[in-house]
């Protein structure tokens, strides 16, 4: 497997930009390229969360299913966004469904592999969480704004 | 005697001046007693002018009392200010009538303002008129009706010979002596000899006094004039903290706002009594037929619930934010807007606040000073 290509891809991503070469090499060992066809489900709600996806090309809809109608899109993700956090926290299951809305190219990292390497190497673990947390914080802030339903409509 | 003034003479009885003005066709608006207070209303007869009265004022308290029987002007300001006449509480701005073709026509009423004298205007009130002159002519827009009333009103001022406990015009540089902004000024000299010094402050004033041929004032009496107001100034126990505009600008989050808020009822009395408060509401009304509409402008108060309403709610919902808006506007942001203070030190807001909130004491608290009256 050509991991040095992944090191370069990872090093250019905002989350991993501060990592040193050895750490990137460690992470690259968990990485692989994936291609998803437009319309395909990347993961279903409830699936074991065992991968983290860096979107390189294409768009993703994060959606939640409901019996009486098509799933509701709660967020869309685009190149350079990160899809999938549930691999970081127990019970390591996906909380929503992710669907490729276009042809998709991603670098995916094996969640179990990442967790194992973080357990073996606490310094790596700390770096991972330290750099991923701000991204999650941004997403939480954005979601709060979404929940506020600021714009309203004529009826609200 | 300052430049431009002519001391015309001596008057023993100010009702003679009122009578002369009335005989010359002037509507005289001046002090009258109503509901146990001095108010400003149209005088029907010269002897409507009250005599022998004084007042006792403090936080939340006003009492009209018997004073020296021969003295005319020992009361100071009451609940009314001259804004009630220059900036009426309700004004019809225009009427509109439906016409054919889904249209309407607008008519603006003419102002009915007979030639009018304001009789008995105090220094702080002249200062207040100058403040509202600036508000209603802001460089882009001008209240023409206000300007017309102002231009067609003769001011007969009274130099204060005493101050109420609530007066602090001296610290605001707005009194108790008047130097300008009047047509005729009356100074009731100290003592019981009953002389009132009469001074003209404008050509208009000189033209009115000329025919009256008042007896001349002696030099001694002329010199006694300034001493009268100096005594009134010296007796003032309240004062505004200097540099209050900056203190409040920097004090948006001062804990004292919460303290005042506990007392403030948001009743708006202060804004009604204040001679410079200018906030108004614009109301569009229609009759039952829906064919006739009117637009009215009426006094409003920053303490009213929906004053700052935007879609969804009012921006200033709490008494704390409303009081802060009032006090910061009056003493601080007014400077940014109009290059002057909005306060003239008349003390009405202290007297007419039902819980006696004292703007000078609160200012001292914000500035971190002990209150002058308490030292």
């Amino acid at each position: 497997m050509q991991t040095h290509g992944f090191e370069e891809i990872l090093s250019r991503h905002p989350v991993f930009a501060g990592f040193d070469g050895a750490t990137l090499a460690l992470l690259a060992g968990c990485a692989r390229n994936e291609h998803v066809n437009a319309g395909a489900i990347i993961y279903f709600e409830g699936d074991p969360a065992d991968r983290m996806y860096l979107i390189r090309h294409g768009d993703v809809a994060v959606e939640i299913g409901t019996p009486e109608r098509d799933p509701i899109i709660v967020e869309t993700l685009h190149p350079d966004d990160i899809l999938g956090w549930s691999w970081m926290v127990p019970p390591y299951r996906h909380m929503s469904q992710a669907r490729a809305t276009t042809d998709l190219r991603v670098v995916s990292l094996d969640g179990a592999c990442l967790r194992r390497k973080c357990d073996d190497n606490p310094a790596l673990g700390y770096m991972m969480f330290k750099h991923l947390l701000p991204h999650m914080a941004q997403r939480v802030r954005a979601l709060r704004l979404q929940v506020l339903d600021l714009y309203g409509t004529a009826s609200s | 005697m300052t430049k431009g003034q002519t001391t015309h003479g001596i008057l023993k009885d100010p009702t003679l001046l009122v009578a002369a003005l009335m005989a010359d066709g002037w509507r005289v608006i001046g002090p009258k007693v109503r509901d146990q207070a001095i108010v400003y209303e149209v005088l029907d007869r010269p002897d409507d002018l009250p005599c022998g009265l004084t007042d006792s004022q403090s936080g939340g308290r006003y009492r009209l009392e018997a004073g020296q029987p021969e003295r005319w002007f020992d009361y100071v300001v009451g609940p009314h200010s001259w804004k009630k006449w220059l900036f009426p509480a309700r004004q019809k701005l225009w009427t509109a009538t439906r016409v054919a073709d889904a249209g309407f026509e607008i008519e603006v009423p003419a102002i009915d303002w007979p030639k009018t004298v304001f009789f008995g205007v105090r220094a702080c009130e002249i200062a207040a008129m100058a403040v509202q002159d600036r508000v209603f002519d802001n460089g882009t827009f001008r209240d023409a009706a206000y300007a017309a009333r102002r231009a067609n009103t003769l001011i007969v001022a009274v130099q204060c010979a005493r101050s109420a406990e609530t007066c602090f015009c001296a610290s605001m540089n707005t009194g108790p002596g008047v130097d300008e902004g009047y047509d005729i000024a009356l100074t009731e000299l100290a003592g019981t000899s009953g002389e009132i010094l009469v001074t003209a402050g404008s050509d208009w004033g000189r033209a009115i006094l000329g025919p009256l041929a008042l007896p001349s004032a002696t030099d001694g009496l002329i010199e006694a004039g300034p001493a009268t107001t100096a005594a009134a100034a010296a007796s003032q126990s309240r004062a505004m903290v200097p540099d209050i505009a900056r203190v409040l600008r920097e004090g948006l989050d001062h804990p004292n706002w919460e303290v005042v808020a506990d007392a403030c009822l948001s009743c708006g009395n202060c804004t009604l009594a204040c001679p410079t408060c200018f906030c108004s509401d614009v109301e569009d009304v229609t009759d039952l037929s829906g064919d006739h509409a009117e637009r009215w402008r009426s006094w409003d108060s920053c303490f009213s619930t929906d004053f700052s309403y935007v879609h969804g709610g009012a921006v200033r919902r709490s008494p704390k934010s409303q009081f802060r808006q009032w006090m910061m506007h009056k003493l601080s942001t007014w400077h940014d807007q109009f290059d002057m203070s909005g306060c003239v030190g008349c003390g009405r807001c202290i007297t007419w606040c039902p819980v006696g909130i004292d703007i000078t004491r609160e200012a001292a608290t914000f500035a971190g000073h002990p209150h002058p009256a308490e030292t």
């Binding site: 714009y151 | 701005l93 309407f104 603006v108 802001n138 934010s321």
Partner: protein
């Protein structure tokens, strides 16, 4: 003595009469009108300014002018029905008469930002007051280093001027990103808040070149400013449009005060650094 007031034309509290030439629905609850003057000549306005619109017998409200400032002979207003007066305005038909006072207020200083990258961030109905400024840049596109519009709305059905925005998006010299808070079935565009889209648009660009103009709910503008600031855009190159209770619109009634300013005279467009100390305070 009877004193005559100023003439009808010179009294700023007396509306000029305009005829509704066209009236049409935009999105649910929102309608636009195109007005032609009956009293007096055409109105010259600057992007960002507003008029007080009077519906006979109902009342008067402040509405931003949303048409093209270069088209002098007509006035366009887009209004959302939220109260009695605004509802009456959205129910106007061709041939009806309205009263207009204005234009009032400060303008988007877009003409002074030539050579720079003009960034517009609109939320909900906030696109309406920005549209005249966008028109100006489009008409003078070569004077600007770039034009970006980021537009967020509640849902796809709430996208204002959708066809026009799509036309702008199809131009090669304009960057347009649209996003919604809530998707609807069949929506294939972005779902998420404008700040997320802003982060993406700002990444890799030169913040020193950006002049940003934001209009929408105040929360959206505050968070938008934070996003711009984090990306290095100067606070003296960011303008927002504020809304307060508006009655007279001429600085006499006191209702619209925001700190030491009158929104009807010193605003509604404010440069952010001049109000930064007030905008985060509650109940000012």
């Amino acid at each position: 003595m009877t004193v005559q007031p100023a003439s009808h034309a010179a009294d700023p509290m007396v509306p000029r009469r305009f005829r509704v030439d066209r009236a049409w629905s935009e999105i649910d609850g929102v309608a636009s009108i195109e007005l032609r003057p009956i009293d007096g000549g055409p109105v010259a306005f600057k992007p960002g300014q507003f008029n007080m619109l009077y519906a006979f017998g109902v009342g008067e409200i402040a509405v931003s002018i949303s048409g093209d400032a270069a088209q002098r002979d007509r006035l366009v207003h887009t209004t959302r029905a939220v109260g009695a007066v605004s509802r009456a305005i959205t129910q106007l038909n061709e041939g009806d008469m309205v009263g207009v006072r204005g234009p009032f207020g400060s303008a988007w200083p877009i003409a002074g930002q030539t050579g720079r990258h003009a960034g517009f961030v609109a939320g909900g109905l906030g696109l309406a007051p920005l549209r005249p400024a966008i028109y100006h840049v489009l008409a003078n596109r070569s004077d600007y280093a770039g034009l970006t519009l980021i537009y967020g709305a509640r849902s796809p059905q709430d996208l204002l001027y959708a066809d026009e925005v799509a036309r702008w998006k199809s131009r090669f010299d304009v960057e347009v990103e649209v996003t919604v808070d809530h998707a609807a079935p069949g929506w294939t565009g972005r779902v998420g808040v404008v700040t997320t889209v802003m982060d993406r648009a700002l990444a890799g660009g030169d913040p020193a070149l950006i002049s940003a103009f934001l209009c929408g709910p105040e929360i959206m503008m505050r968070y938008g400013v934070m996003t711009l600031e984090a990306a290095g855009v100067g606070l003296d190159r960011i303008w927002v449009s504020l809304e307060r209770n508006m009655k007279c619109a001429i600085g006499f009634c006191g209702h619209c005060q925001f700190g030491p300013t009158f929104v009807c005279r010193d605003g509604p467009v404010y440069r952010h650094d001049q109000i930064a100390h007030l905008i985060n305070k509650s109940e000012v």
